[in-house]
Point group: C2
Chain length 195, copies 2
Amino acid sequence: MRQNPARRAALLDAAIEVLAAEGSRGLTLRAVDAKAQVPVGTCSNYFANRAELLRQIMERTRERLTPDPAEVAEALAAPSSPELVAQFLRDVYRRMDADRSSYLAMMELRLEGVRRPELGAELNRSFRVALEENIRFHLDAGLPGDRVDVTLLYLAVHGMIVDDLTVPDVLAGSAGELIDELCRRLLPRGAAENA
Amino acid sequence: MRQNPARRAALLDAAIEVLAAEGSRGLTLRAVDAKAQVPVGTCSNYFANRAELLRQIMERTRERLTPDPAEVAEALAAPSSPELVAQFLRDVYRRMDADRSSYLAMMELRLEGVRRPELGAELNRSFRVALEENIRFHLDAGLPGDRVDVTLLYLAVHGMIVDDLTVPDVLAGSAGELIDELCRRLLPRGAAENA
């Protein structure tokens, strides 16, 4: 069967909306066809089964939430400091906020992965690689803080995003300031900056 | 109808197991009856509807995850320090680890709350109150750090628990050490202690 990459992406985007709106139990190939407004059966031509659809949704959300490399390179031109790290984390937050469906879909997948070992294994691998890449990026860029700091930043921002998506009144819009405070309080300030 | 508090608690505990194992869509009054091994219809005698069941599950998980006040008082006898805060957070973590179903059920409820505004409002209120209580406890006990620090600790441990429950390979058993490092790096060390 002929497959069209744009249509595949459109099906995955529809699947993300279904997951975010209906939860994992609402995600059927037929529901994705309906959401994407394509003929019944289209989705099953693109994904061998539900497990394959879930795996590709995971990759697609990752793709949607990844920043533009040119913007990252431009931001890195600024001097290294806790404030620069805060700016990167605020960007992570902003991307989530502009694409809440992707993050909600990922949370649904995480819970589904607890019940489906095969999906759970994929998620474990994917999140592990993502954290390692974050740590490597941070250290290679000479940003302040070691691998433990980067891990702690990741965890705090992750907790913040989960709360913002599910119980937004808890932080009540203070996420940006909390990110600034976290970086200011946690990260070492280099000698060069203080000079 | 006569209601029995022990049976109500047993039904809620069964509901927590159903939620953790099957997700929110699997949670029906009938599934809870089956899990609790009680006659069909028992659950509907205790809970007027599914919304009421969800609300009481939320309270029950909170109850199950709350520490014994006597243990808290005993721990507070130790001198105030970042290490003492780490010990409290390790206890939060240990309680979650000993009762993963409660925390998973709460994550299912959070996602369900995104889709059901009434439940979402309850969750917002409940988590907000819980964070305020944590902050008040911390400040009243004279533990190191201000309300921003307590909020950041809460967020990082929350992110840690979500990862431990859903993608455990990411932290691979290092949660305890990360908690120690977080407290050591984030919290101010009092003059008294250094003396």
